[in-house]
Symmetry: C2
Subunit: 118 residues, 2 copies
DNA sequence: CTGATAGATTGATGACTGTCAATATGGCAA
DNA sequence: TTGCCATATTGACAGTCATCAATCTATCAG
């Protein structure tokens, strides 16, 4: 394995994604990385991040109050809420004609844990 | 604004992306969400997550030791290390013919902080 | 200098994603 | 029941992304 000036090649080391050890301490399996990547990808969009922060800040928000602040069409909002909900980051409750969204704090906690202590 | 059975519409409330308040406490601006989304998107891919976890687990890894475990071609590995480096999550140091990668713990810390305390 | 090797870059390609218009669904009001 | 309204779903389209083969660059060994 390569040290500063070696000649040989360096030696090689080695359920829901969120049930895995910290990223920085344990090498992720393919399955674990798939699940964790799904959740992180859900957060990897500026519109969804702002959507989530609005929901979090207000505790509970109905979809009709997201179109304005986010400046997106109704189907687009619905698309993003769906992705966040699929990732387990928010949940929606239907009350009458409206759907109320709120965050799932445990999910964010689990995500933070999965990102490791470092 | 809609309470359980109202008829009117609910009222609307109100250096790097990682320098923003916790997601769950402050509504993100468009600029903040862009930067934060970039970092999260970098992590939103299973190959990059495993790459990062391998680097983190070993402390320092040369690119040539990533192709095997990840099962991807050399250009693909280079592509992923570049994205992670652009996101500030890893840094590469060239020593001789090899490039050695290691994680940037502060960046992960900042990310955890940006995800909020909840 | 020459040949070999690690890694980056380029180009092409198929897959996925964000977006919106149009439409469907299901509750509420009159 | 009839019509309206909040969301969800569908379909289409443009832009982005992951991937690899081919190529380029730079370093080391002889």
């Amino acid at each position: 394995m390569p040290h500063a000036r070696s000649t040989t090649k360096p030696a090689s080391g080695a359920g829901e994604a969120l049930c895995c050890g910290p990223l920085t301490e344990v090498s992720l399996s393919e399955v674990e990385s798939e699940g964790l990547a799904t959740v992180l990808a859900a957060l990897g969009d500026p519109v969804r991040l702002r959507l989530l922060s609005i929901v979090a800040a207000q505790g509970e928000v109905c979809s009709c109050n997201l179109e304005g602040p986010l400046g997106k069409s109704q189907p687009t909002i619905s698309h993003h809420t769906r992705l966040l909900a699929d990732a387990g980051l928010i949940v929606g409750e239907k009350r009458g004609r409206w759907t109320w969204w709120r965050v799932v704090p445990e999910r964010l906690l689990a995500l933070r844990a999965a990102l490791g202590g470092a």
